[in-house]
């Protein structure tokens, strides 16, 4: 302790090797500063990338697990013989719960909403058209889920 008390004033009063010392301090400070900045920047960039990729993998996985089957399409009458009703039976044959968002008949949206379908379950969607379905007409029907999967096919109306 006594030795240090004598050394520091001597060091402070000495004029030798100041520039070397300053250079060392400067370099260390710069390295620390730049290294810290680089670290922060790298962490931020990687975090953003990881976040985006994570969302992509998660979303794609959820979409991939969805499977939907249209079991039956039943053309019938809503009122009397107006031939404006179509009932679609859909089954969730995937490994994930799905939500049906829209149904299109001949590329025209006729139903929209959210119908949740658990794995293995079947449910029906009743559509009421604005115009009658034609007897014997081939009808293009597509069912879209909230995650973006679309199941489509052609069904023929009865004669």
């Amino acid at each position: 302790m006594k030795k240090n008390r004598r050394t520091i004033p001597r060091f402070m009063s000495s004029r030798r090797a100041i520039s070397t010392l300053l250079a060392n301090v400067l370099v260390v400070t710069m390295v620390v500063a730049l290294g810290t900045m680089l670290f922060i920047w790298t962490t931020g960039v990687m975090g953003m990338y990881q976040g985006g990729a994570g969302v992509w993998f998660s979303t794609r996985s959820e979409v991939m697990k969805e499977r939907l089957a249209i079991e039956e399409v039943w053309f019938t009458n809503a009122v009397g013989q107006d031939r404006k009703n179509i009932t679609i039976y859909v089954r969730n044959v995937g490994t994930n719960e799905l939500k049906i968002a829209a149904v299109y008949v001949n590329s025209t949206q006729v139903w929209t909403g959210t119908k949740t379908l658990d794995v293995g379950k079947v449910d029906k969607i009743s559509l009421t058209l604005t115009t009658s379905w034609g007897r014997g007409c081939v009808t293009y029907i597509s069912v879209a889920t909230l995650r973006g999967n679309v199941v489509k096919g052609y069904w023929q109306a009865p004669f």
Binding site: N24, V27, V28, M30, V31, V32, G35, T36, L38, F39, T42, T43, M46, Y49, Q50, A53, G54, F57, R60, S61, M64, K65, R67, L68, A69, E71, E72, W74, F75, T76, N77, Q81, R83, T87, Y89, R91, V93, G94, T95, G120, V122, P158
Partner: protein, 366 residues
């Protein structure tokens, strides 16, 4: 050595820089490892779902003719078997059955048959698990539907859906259509009439061996004659019972204008051989009717089992012999147009069909 290293003042920046570099490299390595893990998990999911899709398309099911068998009752309800064959490479688990009455547009047209479960007392099925290779699997259905009333003009479309999301369908009852371009048959309803040289024959008291009847010669006026017609029941779901009113009408076509005389030959017993008192017998439609058996094999190019129907009686239900109209008798040359009236019972209902059949001749030069 460590003491000396710590005491030295040179290279501190290098050491710190190297430390930062190592930290950043480790962070990037960690990111790459994370990405690889995520990608691997995603690829595993893709493979798993591909396998699910592969299994789905491996499902293949065939309905065996006639589709529905063993129609009966179970208490207050109807029951029957849906016969199917698993020709895919994977087991099939039936999820639901839809019976759609194609000719009905009312709210009753669609009947949904669920898998048997507690609380379902009607409109359910059992035995819906079909192993690969099973060739005559029967899915038992208990329902309120009366499938015995289904006809070709009022058919049902049956949809069988599987738990993997496939749908297989058939129509019931099935109608077997003749092969295109086949001129060897005349099809009217479920009846198929063979149209070849040996499908139409006749016998007389003097010609007791059936002989092709396209040109009957020599034929003396007033000679009793009996005709043999070959008929097939192409329906695969029920037999056909012929009634005593079945008739083979020969319309004489005289070029002088005196045509139009009809000789009607009614159906006679199947044991009849040629027209005579002890060789031709009245048709007994109650105790010994003609039963045309249903087609047991849909792949049979003939369309079913061949039957020979005999006509020779002057009036229905008798064994009174009949002759072709030949005007003044002798060995006159005549031509005849033949129409047949077939009256039959099919699936419990009475039907009648007129068959524009053949044109035959007597004694004309060939």
């Amino acid at each position: 050595m460590l003491k000396r290293f710590v005491g030295r003042r040179k290279g501190i920046g290098t050491v710190l820089g190297a430390g930062y570099f190592i930290i950043i490299v480790l962070a990037i390595f960690n990111l790459i490892m994370w990405e690889v893990t995520q990608y691997d998990a995603y690829q595993q999911l893709v493979s798993q779902m591909n396998q699910v899709d592969q299994e789905r398309i491996s499902e293949n099911l065939e309905f065996i003719d006639p589709g529905i068998t063993d129609i009966g009752t179970l208490g207050a309800y109807k029951c029957f078997n849906l016969t199917v064959r698993n020709i895919g490479g994977i087991t099939i688990n039936t999820a639901r059955l839809y019976f759609y009455n194609y000719s009905d547009s009312s709210s009753n047209a669609l009947k949904i048959i669920e898998k048997a479960a507690a609380g379902i007392s009607v409109n359910y099925f059992t035995n819906g698990f079909i192993n690969p290779g099973e060739s005559n699997h029967k899915i038992r259905v208990v329902t309120t539907l009366d499938m015995s009333k289904a006809t070709e003009s009022r058919p049902y479309i049956i949809y069988l859906t599987t738990e993997r999301g496939r749908t297989f369908s058939t129509v019931y009852p099935r109608t077997i259509l003749p092969k295109p371009g086949n001129v060897g048959f005349i099809d009217v309803g479920p009846l198929r009439f063979k149209f070849d040289y040996y499908a139409l024959n006749y016998t007389t008291p003097s010609r007791i061996v059936p002989t092709p009847a396209w040109l009957i010669s020599p034929y003396a006026g007033g000679t009793a004659i009996m005709f043999f017609v070959t008929v097939i029941n192409t329906a695969s779901d029920d037999d056909i019972r012929l009634k005593k009113y079945c008739v083979f009408d020969c319309i004489e076509m005289e070029f002088t204008g005196a045509s139009g005389k009809i000789a009607s030959f009614f159906i006679v017993d199947k044991d009849s051989t040629w027209p005579g008192a002890s060789t031709m017998f009245p048709y007994d439609e109650v105790n010994d009717p003609y039963i045309l058996p249903k087609n047991p094999d849909p792949n049979n190019p003939q369309g079913g089992i061949t039957n020979t129907i005999k006509f020779g009686a002057k009036s229905w239900g008798t064994a009174t012999v009949q002759c072709l109209f030949t005007g003044g008798g002798g060995y006159g040359q005549y031509v005849y147009l033949v129409l047949m009236g077939f009256y039959y019972v099919y699936k419990g209902q009475d039907y009648g069909a007129t068959i524009p059949f053949v044109a035959i001749r007597t004694n004309t030069p060939s």
